[in-house]
Symmetry: C2
Subunit: 183 residues, 2 copies
């Protein structure tokens, strides 16, 4: 796509809040509209950029800074990016915001620990509650919700499709993507 | 620039062979022609993607794999990339080649250890010869030259400007960049 505008949809939220599910719908829709997009999912990044890092504050910060470094490289060259890591610390997200300026769109994928634990997509919360996983965000490690995100998605009440639609509307409003065709 | 073709100029060569110097000239010239380009220099990458990694074979391989991951993300989205890390091991360079296919252009920046040591841009060879730096490529750590690089630059005999011109000619031949204006 010619002269596409780069941006970074920076998802943040607990494990199981819906980051990956929503990012997959947005990715599919953007591609259907002829847009490029790269998804830097938490797991993909841990495998390719951050193997060996743990979950201490320092290691989490390093991991998030690397994601921001790559998201900045892509988005400043016109590539839309979705990052879908927990990114629990406000300070490091704000650092990413500062690097990317108005290309940075923070999306708070919101759901309570209780609801995420009920979903328990990967069976992780049960282990975390039992103490079998240490430093688990929302259980034994902090999560700092954004104070002024560009978008808050209430995944306890909205479907993933509704949330994806909200993101696409925001991108259209900001003229970062072409308007969708009426169905 | 609309619909630019992505590629990765993968420089490989000893410390002091001329990778950074030549990459800077190519970068300047590409920008002058209205092309985008991102340079993933060895030092930049060590700072932003690989802090904490050392110079064992394993750590070097990890470092190079990360560079390849990012170069692939950029180049498959139409962004020209220059990587300028030593990348001493053939196997890992070939892995990057496999990932990027015909977007991968290996540029052997060739100079002997003796010539690099005479230049000794950063004063590193002296320390390496004295044993003050361990695992120094070409002195106390292996360097495996490419067997079939797309381009070999003889920086012992050519100037950095001449070498940069060779790279630009190759990119023009392959229609990866627009032809330059006659001076």
């Amino acid at each position: 796509m010619a002269d596409e505008k780069g941006f970074t949809l920076w998802f943040t939220g607990l494990s199981g809040a819906g980051k990956t599910t929503i990012s997959e719908i947005v990715e599919r829709e953007l591609r259907a509209r002829g847009s490029r997009v790269e998804v830097l999912d938490g797991d993909v990044v841990r495998e390719n950029l951050s193997k060996g890092l743990g979950f201490s504050k320092e290691d989490r910060d390093t991991n998030i800074r690397r994601i921001a470094f790559v998201a900045d490289l892509l988005s400043r060259n016109g590539v839309p990016v979705i990052t879908a890591a927990i990114s629990p610390y406000r300070e490091i997200r704000d650092e990413a915001r500062e690097t990317m300026g108005d290309r940075f769109i923070e999306v708070f994928v919101k759901a309570s620990v209780e609801v995420c634990a009920e979903r328990d997509v990967k069976g992780l919360y049960e282990k975390a509650f039992k103490g079998e996983i240490k430093e688990f965000t929302g259980v034994s490690d902090p999560y700092e919700p954004p104070l002024n995100p560009e978008l808050t998605l209430d995944t306890e009440h909205d479907s993933a499709e509704e949330d994806a639609a909200k993101i696409l509307s925001l991108l259209e409003e900001r003229q970062l993507i072409p308007a969708g065709q009426p169905a």
